[in-house]
């Protein structure tokens, strides 16, 4: 077998070698020695995020540690938990387990879960392997991202540790979601992916307090969120917007009811009609009748100067906006009477945007 002393190579060469390796291979190489781990940490390419994805079925949990690099997601390593007997004290540390299975582009480490897999040992294993991978790839382990592509296994993470969570739209009415939010009050970003599955839309909005929310398939739920959102930034896609709820949002904001709101961007589904003319008509009417503005606790203006809204949400890391999205030229300004706070409204048959100026 041909061999090569990797530790004797210059750093620039090590960097090039690492850039040709998959995250799983880098993970396995980091397990060879502490010195190699340091060498990898010194030369590893930039990773944007390290997270954990939990999949079922129940009592056979798989925790995959994945990473995002330049928008692409790659799996690095996973712990396969299997229930084994009633021995709650039996705990095998993943580091001590050498029976790795190396499947295509992922390392599988078999692990043992106690009878009730929400036993803290399972949780500890998941946090431990996530922290390890974060350390190797120089990512702050405190910014924990989790994904639940099937069911919501909120038991897998310690209280207050999850910062970003990705679920699917079919889970929005799942009772586990409420438990997840009760447990993870530090969560600052929720992404709800579009599964394209047919499901009944409920009106549960347990996520309305999360500071930043992205709904990829909002549909009629968008209207509920327009009037009940308590976070700062929202991005709603594939909506079924109604002019009634858009007007309601502006009224509530004018009356200081949605005081945390900074930006809300809602894109209408191409298959549904949006009665945006109703909102436009109201805005124009208030523009022409300033004496009636007091009735809506705000006044409407249409500034002529060119303005670009200074959008500073973490949503930009998850969504590529069109170049003119934040161009407020031609938008209507709603100025709150109580404190003079100004928000710009942009509306068309395809979207509704609401930007509160700093």
């Amino acid at each position: 077998m041909h061999r090569i002393p990797i530790q004797s190579l210059p750093d620039v060469v090590t960097r090039e070698i690492l850039s040709n390796m998959t995250p799983s291979e880098i993970f396995l190489a980091s397990m060879t020695s502490k010195k190699t781990r340091k060498l990898i940490k010194r030369n590893i390419h930039k990773v944007d995020e390290v997270g954990v994805e939990i999949t079922g079925p129940f009592f056979k949990i798989r925790a995959v540690v994945y990473m995002k690099v330049k928008g692409k997601t790659c799996n690095a390593v996973c712990l396969d938990f299997k229930e084994e007997g009633n021995d709650l004290n039996r705990f095998v540390d993943w580091r001590a387990n050498n029976s790795y299975q190396i499947l295509e582009n992922i390392v599988v480490i078999p692990s043992i879960a106690p009878e009730f897999w929400n036993f803290p040992a399972t949780c500890r294993q998941i946090h431990s392997i996530h922290s390890y991978v974060c350390d190797v790839f120089n990512i702050n382990a405190l910014n924990l991202s989790v994904r639940f592509p099937s069911d919501i296994y909120h038991e897998c993470f310690d209280i207050g540790t999850v910062k970003k969570c990705t679920i699917t739209d079919v889970e929005l009415d799942n009772a586990s979601l409420v438990k997840l939010f009760n447990k993870q009050k530090n969560m600052n970003l929720l992404i709800v992916e579009n599964t394209r599955e047919i499901f009944a839309f409920g009106s549960k909005d347990s996520f309305r307090h999360v500071p930043t929310v992205i709904l990829r398939n909002a549909q009629a739920r968008a209207n509920v969120l327009l009037t009940r959102f308590q976070g700062q930034h929202g991005l709603l896609e594939n909506c079924s917007l109604s002019g009634f709820y858009v007007n309601a949002l502006m009224k509530l904001w004018s009356e200081n009811e949605m005081d945390n709101l900074v930006s809300l961007i809602a894109y209408q589904s191409s298959q549904r009609l949006f009665d945006y003319e109703k909102v436009l008509g109201d805005l124009e009417w208030y523009l022409k009748h300033p004496e009636r503005n007091t009735l809506i606790a705000s006044r409407v203006e249409k500034p002529s100067e060119k303005r670009i809204y200074p959008y500073k949400s973490i949503i930009t890391q998850e969504h590529q906006f069109e170049a003119d999205t934040f161009d407020c030229d031609g938008g209507y300004d709603v100025v709150r009477n109580s404190d003079g706070k100004r928000a710009t409204v942009k509306i068309s048959k395809d979207y509704f945007m609401f930007f509160v100026w700093p």
Binding site: I4, V12, V13, T32, T36, N98, Y100
Partner: protein, 188 residues
């Protein structure tokens, strides 16, 4: 000192036959340079082939050597073994004036020389060949367990690293003590 003049005729790019004669630019005679490694065997290489090496390209770009001057002043690369330099020169000749395809079949095959080749290519700053060599090093550990990686990449265990560190500290302490004693002796 012996000399090999290889790659100068076979690697010369073919002249386009379809171009109209009136549009053909006047032919500039190709310039050649000479390099040698640890074994002092001199290789004649065209300036075009040497463009792959950022290091040599930077050295020759402003020299303006005549053929005789270049022959009399071969670039010495004493830190590169002769056979490794030969491989590098062959590769540069084969890729003169063209980029490396993703699957390069004209690459050095001797895996046992990979370590020396990587160092030489890195020193000579031949980016495309370095990328290929690094891919080869990465491929060596594909599908291997940490234990196998340790063996292939000659990685000492933590215990071995600790023992080596202790030994190095001990040696450094002894040397420092020896120097102090010698200095005290000198002072007397």
């Amino acid at each position: 000192m012996s000399s090999t003049e290889q790659g100068t005729s076979s690697a010369a790019p073919a002249e386009p036959t379809t171009a109209p004669e009136s549009a053909a630019a006047p032919e500039v005679p190709e310039s050649f340079y000479y390099v040698h490694g640890k074994d002092k065997v001199v290789h004649k290489v065209s300036a075009g082939a040497l463009q792959h090496s950022a290091l040599i390209h930077g050295m020759i770009s402003n020299l303006g050597y005549t053929e005789e001057q270049a022959k009399a002043n071969p670039f010495p690369f004493e830190n590169i073994d002769g056979d490794i330099l030969q491989m590098v020169v062959d590769w540069c000749n084969q890729h003169k004036g063209k980029p490396t395809p993703p699957e390069d079949t004209n690459l050095p095959k001797q895996k046992e020389k990979l370590f020396d080749l990587v160092l030489a290519v890195n020193y000579l700053e031949i980016k495309e060949l370095l990328t290929y060599c690094c891919k080869q090093v990465a491929m060596m550990v594909k599908g291997k367990s940490p234990e196998e990686i340790r063996e292939i990449w000659m990685i000492p265990t933590d215990a071995e690293d600790e023992a080596a560190e202790k030994e190095a500290k001990k040696r450094a302490g002894k040397e420092a003590a020896g120097e102090t004693a010698a200095a005290a002796g000198d002072a007397k």
